[in-house]
């Protein structure tokens, strides 16, 4: 149980910053995900937290006590790795009990803890089996059980379900969330999968090129991304980033005009160069040709994915992606008209990429 603070943490390798001035507060009993593309610095952040590497500058605190120079053991984090690292010669029970046995915990306590963890993870019936006899999902549960069985400051997870197949990942995601709330533990969860990061956590930190770009509730990050790059990282298919022209009271985007209320319009006008972000699900498609203010929207690609389809249009030199339900009766080359509600428009500064509206 603990509140963890990273205060201006920087780590450089051979002059190249892997993490720059990172500020992050992980509240006690919260579920925080750290999300970013490969190479963004998430594993570095985890290693610094664990104490496997030392920071160049900045501080790390656990419950207001500075642990920046403390040994990993003193920080007492419990960790689940992607490659589960179970002992092949031990059965599931002994694998889970291992951290307790090593600490000389009494047999009574071990049994009690083990029963509780195994119950929550629904693995009581496989405790006698060795890892080789377990399925991927069962092995994953055992590895999580081993991490959860002991008291720790917080439980750190590095892509813990990335190696599982899609359906099992869906199940495990929900299970982890349930575990965290049942035990009231502090979880820090690192992943490169934006949907996983959004669904599992109650707070999400976006890491990109060594910098934390935004920390908030996943829902808020999706609805109000702080920069263009955050908007592009969170959500799939990727958000459309488009140019806009502001002329008097009219805002014109490649798909047509945007009706923005006066005060917001003034805000945009005072900002200089502006670009527009529109998520594909906000682009409404209609058959028939578009409006006269813009060039024709011609369908250039349709990706039919079963439950939904991704439709790509070309308007002049711009590409716009839209989502359509099911298997729409649209064809490549067809001309369509597009509409986007003003409420679904995100505006960013052209120069710095920062959110304006």
């Amino acid at each position: 149980m603990a509140r963890i603070v990273l205060d201006g943490v920087t780590k450089t390798y051979g002059g190249v910053p892997a993490l720059e001035n990172a500020n992050l507060v992980v509240e006690n009993a919260s579920f925080t995900s750290v999300f970013g593309p490969p190479g963004c610095g998430k594993s570095v952040l985890l290693r610094l937290l664990l104490g496997l590497e030392s920071v160049d500058s900045g501080r790390i605190l656990i419950d207001d006590v500075e642990v920046t120079r403390a040994q990993p053991k003193e920080r007492n984090f419990s960790m689940v790795f992607q490659n589960l690292a179970l002992f092949p010669h031990l059965n599931a029970r002994d694998n889970i009990a291992f951290p307790l046995v090593r600490r000389g915990t009494s047999q009574n306590v071990i049994d009690e803890r083990l029963d509780s963890v195994a119950g929550v993870l629904s693995i009581s019936h496989i405790l006698h089996k060795k890892p080789a006899a377990l399925s991927g999902g069962e092995r994953q549960r055992v590895a999580i059980g081993r991490a959860l069985v002991r008291d720790a400051t917080a439980y750190l997870m590095d892509e813990p379900i990335a190696a599982l197949d899609a359906r099992l990942r869906d199940v495990m995601r929900v299970e982890l969330k349930r575990l965290q709330s049942e035990f009231g533990h502090t979880f820090v969860y690192v992943t490169h999968d934006n949907e996983e990061a959004m669904s599992v956590a109650d707070r999400m930190a976006i890491l990109e090129r060594g910098r934390i770009r935004q920390i908030d509730k996943p829902d808020t990050i999706y609805a109000e991304p702080s920069t263009i790059s955050v908007a592009e990282l969170v959500g799939s298919p990727k958000i459309n980033i488009l140019p806009v022209k502001i002329d008097g009271t009219a805002i014109t985007a490649p798909f047509g005009s945007v009706d923005l209320e006066g005060s917001l319009l003034d805000k945009l006008k005072n900002t200089g160069g502006v670009v527009l972000g529109v998520r594909p699900e906000a682009v409404k498609l209609h058959s028939g040709n578009g409006n006269s203010e813009t060039g024709a929207a011609l369908i250039s690609d349709i990706e039919r994915l079963g439950g939904f389809s991704i439709v790509t249009m070309k308007v002049d030199e711009f590409e716009i992606r839209a989502l359509a339900d099911g298997d729409p009766t649209l064809a490549i080359g067809e001309e369509v008209s597009l509409r986007v509600d003003a409420a679904d428009c995100h505006f960013f500064g052209e120069a710095d990429g920062a959110r304006i509206i």
Partner: protein
């Protein structure tokens, strides 16, 4: 360009049967995905098409010519692997021209084709740089370009996108679709990712435990799954498949989802007919999370459920429901306001529901004649 036929192909590794009596016809210039979980036999199947592995039983032919005994280098196949295998000490240009040079093509043609491929792959600005300087994403592009440029008879791709990050995978899916439209090559694409298979392929061969489960267009495997395995493997989140008991009511058949569900679903002609044909009292009832509607009105296909958990994942809300002892999922727009603990009324779209046999797990609502796709060309 060539069509590929696998006839009664079985591959054993010792006691293990990796591929079991596989019959598959890949038509000329089509993009076929071999889709399944790890260990399903998809890579072994590809290796047998390539000539890397020989079948234990059965034959492989290209354009009607038996190539079962033909070595890999004489089959005229092109490869792209997950770990791209680029010559990193050579420039991008050299990597692209390599295959054409080995084939002894005239310098002028090589130059033109390299320029065209580089342009198509958006690598023109990189042409004279060492390959080692390329990003992971560019490397994979180059790997695909290098294989495509020699225009092999058959183009084999083994999970080529699985090392790429999500945003770039989207981009590459679109590039690959364009590439296939332009090149009109026969492509066989191995993947465990149903989205990739749906997105890219003209036809999808769904495999499990060495056996072909279904061979059909992406729309078919999604909306007319041959069995429970295919139904669950295609689509995310998976199709809900729950036990249901069938009762012969006064005005037609009724299905009760789970034993404790209070509300019965009135079945339409299609579903009732499937029940009659199978004579079963219990069936597996399948409905996709994205086809459930929340409603206020009572109707023949409405039933009550409790909201257990709501996950907001970007543009979607994934809602976990319970009715009786049955758990299932619904997918809705993120704008839906719904909370755990709420009691709601749900409506099924029977046109999009499926019944499966409890024992064989085969789809009862599907005309089984076309399952293997052989007679559907």
């Amino acid at each position: 360009m060539a069509n590929v036929t696998l006839e009664n192909v079985t591959k054993n590794f010792g006691d293990f049967t990796a591929v079991d009596t596989l019959n598959l016809a890949v038509p000329d210039a089509e993009f076929v995905a071999l889709l399944g979980p790890s260990g399903c036999g998809k890579t072994t199947t590809m290796n047998m098409i390539a000539g890397i592995e020989a079948p234990s039983i059965g034959s492989v032919s290209f354009d009607g010519v038996d190539v079962t005994q033909t070595p890999v280098q004489k089959r005229g196949v092109g490869f792209v692997f997950q770990n791209y295998a680029i010559f990193t000490h050579m420039t991008v240009r050299k990597n692209l021209s390599f295959g054409l040079e080995v084939a002894g093509r005239p310098a002028k043609e090589i130059h033109r084709k390299v320029e065209e491929m580089a342009e198509f792959m958006a690598l023109t600005h990189r042409l004279d740089q060492p390959s080692a300087s390329l990003s992971v994403n560019e490397l994979q592009k180059l790997a695909i370009g290098r294989s495509a440029i020699v225009e092999p008879k058959i183009f084999l791709l083994d999970e080529p996108l699985s090392n790429l990050d999500a945003a770039f995978r989207e981009r590459m899916r679109s590039d690959l679709r364009q590439l296939q439209r332009d090149l009109k090559q026969t492509m066989v694409y191995v993947t465990h990712d149903q989205i990739e298979a749906m997105s890219l392929a003209d036809r999808v061969a769904v495999m499990n435990k060495g056996q072909l489960q279904q061979f059909g267009s992406p729309a078919q495997v999604y909306s007319e799954p041959a069995n429970v395995f295919v139904a669950r493997f295609i689509g995310a989140p998976s199709m809900n498949i729950v036990r249901a008991s069938i009762q012969h009511g006064t005005s037609g058949h009724e299905a009760r989802l789970g034993d404790l569900a209070a509300d019965a679903i009135m079945l339409d002609e299609r579903l009732s007919g499937a029940c009659d044909r199978s004579d079963a009292l219990d069936v597996l009832f399948g409905f996709r999370p994205e086809t459930i509607e929340i409603t206020d009105e009572n109707g023949p296909t409405t039933f009550g459920a409790e909201v257990m958990l709501v996950e907001t994942v970007g543009r979607r809300k994934i809602v976990h429901f319970k009715t009786g002892l049955i758990d299932f999922l619904g997918v809705f727009d993120r704008s839906l306001s719904i909370r755990a603990g709420e009691a709601v009324k749900l409506k099924l779209d029977l046109d999009k529901c499926h019944l499966f046999d409890v024992k064989s797990e085969r789809c009862l609502t599907l005309d089984q004649g076309g399952v293997d796709g052989q007679n559907r060309s």
